[in-house]
C-alpha cells in the first residue's frame, strides 16, 4: 500500500486548496465568528487528510473533538462575549504587517521547498506494519507502552488549565453578596419590574425575520424584543402593517 493512489490524489488536490483558503480566511477575517468558521473548514479538511492517509482514528478525533467540540465551544464563548467585537485594524508597530507577511511567506517557502526536496523519491515505509493489528490497536499499544508517562502527565496539564481558568475568570462572591431565592423573587415582583418573559422578535408582526420587532398591544413596535447586536433594518410597508388576527 505504498505510493499515492488516484483517489488519494483527487482528495488531496480538492481539499488542500480549501484548507489553505480556510487558514488564510481565519487570519484575515475581521470578525471573530467568521475566523472561527474558517478555522472549522481547515480542521475538517485536515481530518479528511488524516483518514485518507490511513489514520482513521486520528481523523475522526480531529473532526469530533476539535471541530465538533472545541470549535463549537469556542463559538459559544464568542457569542457570549459579544459577536460584534472585532479586531482593530490600526497597526501599533509601523510596517509590522508587511514585514510579518514577507518573513512569513519566506519561512513557509523555505520550509516547504526544503521538505519537498527532501521527500522527493522517498519510499513510504512502515504504514502497513503500524496498522497491522488495526489502527486503534496500534495507537493504544504506543500510548500504553512507550508514551504512557506522557499520556498520564497530560492530566497535570488539564488540572493546570482548570485551576488557571478559575483563577483568571472566577470572582468569588463575598459573604453578604449572596442573594437568596426569596430575595430574588421579591425583587422580581417589585413594582416597576416586568416579571414575565419579554416578547421575542416578530410577535404579532407580518414578518418572520429576527430583525422585525414585536408589536405591543397598541400596534407600536417593541424595541426590547430585538437583539441589540442586530443591525437596524428599514421595514417595508407590508412588514409594518398590523397582522390580521380576526376575520380569517
Amino acid at each position: 500500500m505504498s505510493g499515492v493512489e488516484t483517489g488519494e490524489a483527487v482528495a488531496f488536490f480538492l481539499l488542500a486548496p480549501l484548507s489553505v483558503i480556510g487558514a488564510l480566511g481565519m487570519v484575515m477575517a475581521r470578525n471573530a465568528v467568521h475566523s472561527a468558521l474558517w478555522l472549522v473548514l481547515t480542521m475538517l479538511s485536515l481530518g479528511v487528510f488524516y483518514i485518507v492517509q490511513a489514520g482513521p482514528f486520528i481523523g475522526m478525533v480531529q473532526i469530533i473533538v476539535y471541530t465538533g467540540a472545541i470549535m463549537m465551544l469556542f463559538l459559544f464563548v464568542l457569542m457570549l462575549v459579544g459577536r460584534d467585537a472585532s479586531d482593530s485594524v490600526i497597526e501599533t508597530l509601523r510596517g509590522q504587517r508587511v514585514v510579518a507577511i514577507v518573513l512569513g511567506v519566506g519561512l513557509a517557502g523555505l520550509l516547504g521547498l526544503g521538505t519537498y526536496r527532501a521527500t522527493q523519491g522517498l519510499a513510504v515505509t512502515g504504514l502497513d506494519e503500524a496498522n497491522k493489528a488495526g489502527n486503534v490497536q496500534g495507537l493504544a499499544r504506543l500510548i500504553f507502552t512507550n508514551y504512557v508517562f506522557a499520556f498520564e502527565v497530560t492530566s497535570a496539564l488539564l488540572i493546570t488549565a482548570a485551576v488557571g481558568a478559575m483563577i483568571l475568570a472566577h470572582v468569588e462572591r463575598r459573604r453578604g453578596e449572596r442573594v437568596g431565592q426569596a430575595a430574588k423573587m421579591r425583587e422580581r415582583f417589585l413594582p416597576g419590574n416586568y416579571p414575565g418573559p419579554k416578547a421575542g422578535p416578530g410577535v404579532y408582526a407580518t414578518s418572520t425575520s429576527v430583525a422585525t420587532p414585536a408589536k405591543l398591544p397598541d400596534g407600536s413596535p417593541a424595541p426590547r424584543s430585538i437583539s441589540p447586536i442586530l443591525p437596524t433594518r428599514e421595514l417595508t410597508a407590508a412588514e409594518k402593517a398590523n397582522k390580521h388576527t380576526e376575520g380569517r
Binding site: 526536496r117 521527500t119 497535570a156 496539564l157 483563577i167
Partner: protein
C-alpha cells in the same frame, strides 16, 4: 495480534516527579477544603515538604545509576547522572525561590493578587488590597517544577514536548498574578503565553520533521539515524532548527529573547526569580540532552549556527542592559546575556563543556534568586521601586542590603572570589578546549560591556546622596532573609570553595544513551 507487554516502571526512579505532581494535586484540594486564614501556611509547608522529599529521593538514587536501570517507563524517562544532577539542582533552586512565594511581611497579603479576575482599578480591586493573596500559586509552582524535572530527564522528543507544556502553562498563569501594577502583569502573561505557544508549535513541527528523518523520536533512534542514515539530511536540518528554536525561546537566547524583559518586569518578583533560575536551568538541561545525546553526530552542522546565536545573545543582552533604567529589566537583559555565556560552555562540546555549564546554571541560579529577593525589599507606597534613579543613595540608607546587592552584582560581572568568576572561567575554558576561541573572545568583550550597567548601579547606590524620593528598604521577613542568606552565602562559597560542586558536576557530566 501479539500480546501487549506493559513497560516496567521503576517507581523509585520516578518518585521525585510523582511526589511533586501528587503534592500539587493535594494542593488543589487544599484550595477547596482548608479555610482561607491558614491556607498560605498549609500550602507553603506542603510544597516545601514535597520538594524536600523529592530531593531526598534524588540523592538516594545518586549512587544507584547504572546503564541498565537508567531508562524506565518504556524508555520515555532517562534517569542518568546528568538527569539526576539537573533534578537535584532544579529542586534546590525551586526550594529557595519558593520561600519568596511565602513572604507575607513585606506587603500585607504577599506578592500575589487575591482575586485575579477582579477588574483592575475597580472598587472591588481597591477593597481586595488588604486581602490575603492567592494561594493557588503553590500547586502551580509544584506542577511547573514537576514538569521541569520531566523536561530534563525526557528521553524522547514527544515526552519532552509534553513536559515543556506542563512546566510552561503554570508559569504563564503565575505571571498574571502580581498584586501591584496588575495591568503590566496581565500584559506580560499574555505576551509570554502567546509567544510561548508559538515557540511550542515550532518545537512540535520540528519533532514531526525529525520523525520523518529518523523514523522515531527517541534519542537513541535519532542518534543512530544521524550517524548512518541514507535519507537526505535536509529533514534533519529543518527539524533540528525548529526544535532548537523552541528551546532557545525558553532559555531567552537572541533573537528569541524579546519576551524576557517584559515578562521579568511584569511578573510578581518571586515568580521572576523562579523563572530566572529554574526555567533557564530546565531549558538548558533539555538543550544539553538534545544536542549531546540525540544530535551529537550533527555537531558540525549546529555548532556554527548556535555559535552565531550565542554571540548575538551576548551582544544583545550586554548592549541593551546598558540602556535600561528599570532594575528588573536590567536583570532581564543580564539574564539574556548569561544565556549566551551558558551557550558558550555548551558549544565547547566536550565533557568540560557539560560540567562547566552545569556549574554555571547552579551558580547563576543562586545569585539571581538572591538579586530578585533584594529587588523585592526596596519599596515605597506603590510597591517595589524598581526605577534605577530611585536606588540612588541606598548605600547611605541601609549599608547592609546595598552591600549584599553590590556583592551580587559583582558576581554577575564575574569578579574573582564570587561564583560568577568560577562559572565564567569554567565555560570559557571549556570553549577554548573545544576550539571555540572566537566565542570566548566575544564572551570576554561582552562581559566588559556588561560590567558597566552593574557598576553604574553600584556607583549610584554608594556615591549619590539619598534624595527625597529614595525609598526605604523594608526589613525582610524570615523567608526572604533566608533566601538572601542562602543566595549570598552560595555565591560566596561557590567562588571561594567551588571544589565540591565542580566535582559533582564533573561526575554528573555523562549521559546514557
Amino acid at each position: 495480534m501479539p500480546e501487549l507487554k506493559l513497560p516496567d516502571i521503576d517507581y523509585a526512579a520516578l518518585l521525585p516527579m510523582l511526589i511533586l505532581f501528587g503534592a500539587a494535586c493535594v494542593g488543589v484540594l487544599i484550595e477547596g477544603f482548608v479555610p482561607r486564614s491558614v491556607r498560605n501556611m498549609v500550602q507553603l509547608v506542603l510544597s516545601l515538604a514535597a520538594m524536600v522529599a523529592a530531593l531526598v529521593f534524588v540523592i538516594r538514587r545518586a549512587g544507584e545509576v547504572t546503564a541498565e536501570n537508567a531508562a524506565t517507563i518504556g524508555g520515555a524517562i532517562m534517569i542518568d547522572n546528568m538527569g539526576l544532577f539537573m533534578e537535584g539542582a532544579l529542586l534546590v533552586l525551586g526550594l529557595v525561590s519558593l520561600l519568596l512565594f511565602g513572604e507575607r511581611t513585606l506587603e500585607r497579603g504577599g506578592a500575589f493578587v487575591p482575586h485575579a479576575a477582579v477588574t483592575v482599578g475597580s472598587e472591588r480591586d481597591r477593597e481586595q488590597a488588604v486581602d490575603s493573596g492567592a494561594t493557588e500559586v503553590y500547586p502551580l509552582a509544584l506542577f511547573s517544577l514537576g514538569g521541569m524535572l520531566m523536561f530534563v530527564t525526557a528521553n524522547d522528543l514527544l515526552t519532552m514536548f509534553v513536559a515543556l507544556e506542563v512546566f510552561s502553562l503554570p508559569l504563564y498563569l503565575m505571571c498574571a498574578l502580581a498584586r501591584r501594577k496588575r495591568l503590566l502583569s496581565q500584559e506580560s502573561a499574555l505576551k509570554y503565553f502567546l509567544l510561548g505557544a508559538y515557540a511550542s508549535a515550532f518545537f512540535l513541527f520540528g519533532v514531526a520533521m525529525i520523525y520523518g528523518f529518523a523514523k522515531g523520536v527517541d534519542f537513541r533512534a535519532i542518534h543512530e539515524a544521524v550517524r548512518g542514515s541514507e535519507t537526505s539530511p535536509t529533514l534533519l536540518l529543518i527539524g533540528l532548527a525548529l526544535v532548537a528554536i523552541g528551546l532557545l525561546f525558553k532559555i531567552a537566547a537572541a533573537p528569541f529573547h524579546v519576551w524576557t524583559p517584559d515578562v521579568y518586569q511584569g511578573a510578581p518578583t518571586p515568580v521572576t526569580a523562579f523563572m530566572a533560575a529554574c526555567t533557564k536551568a530546565a531549558a538548558f538541561g533539555a538543550l544539553l540532552r538534545v544536542l549531546y545525546v540525540g544530535f551529537d553526530g550533527a555537531k558540525w552542522h549546529f555548532t556554527p549556527v548556535l555559535g552565531a546565536v550565542a554571540v548575538l545573545t551576548m551582544l544583545v543582552g550586554a548592549v541593551l542592559a546598558v540602556t535600561q533604567t528599570d532594575l528588573k529589566r536590567l536583570l532581564a537583559y543580564s539574564s539574556v546575556a548569561n544565556a549566551g555565556y551558558l551557550m558558550v560552555g555548551l558549544l565547547g562540546g566536550n565533557k568540560d563543556g557539560l560540567s562547566s555549564t552545569l556549574f554555571y546554571l547552579v551558580a547563576y541560579g543562586f545569585t539571581v534568586i538572591a538579586a530578585f529577593a533584594l529587588v523585592s525589599l526596596v519599596r515605597d507606597a506603590d510597591g517595589e521601586a524598581t526605577h534605577l534613579s530611585r536606588w540612588a543613595g541606598l548605600g547611605r540608607r541601609s549599608p547592609l542590603f546595598a552591600g549584599i546587592f553590590t556583592f551580587l552584582l559583582l558576581a554577575f560581572a564575574g569578579i574573582p572570589l564570587t561564583s560568577g568568576f568560577m562559572a565564567k572561567f569554567g565555560v570559557f575554558g571549556a570553549a577554548i578546549a573545544g576550539d571555540q576561541t572566537w566565542l570566548v573572545i566575544f564572551g570576554v568583550l561582552t562581559s566588559i560591556v556588561l560590567a558597566f550597567p552593574y557598576l553604574r548601579v553600584v556607583v549610584m547606590m554608594w556615591l549619590s546622596e539619598p534624595g527625597e524620593t529614595t525609598p526605604s528598604v523594608s526589613i525582610p521577613g524570615v523567608l526572604t532573609s533566608a533566601v538572601l542568606g542562602i543566595g549570598t552565602v552560595a555565591t560566596l562559597l561557590l567562588g571561594v570553595l567551588p571544589g565540591p560542586l565542580l566535582e559533582l558536576a564533573d561526575q554528573a557530566s555523562s549521559f546514557i544513551r
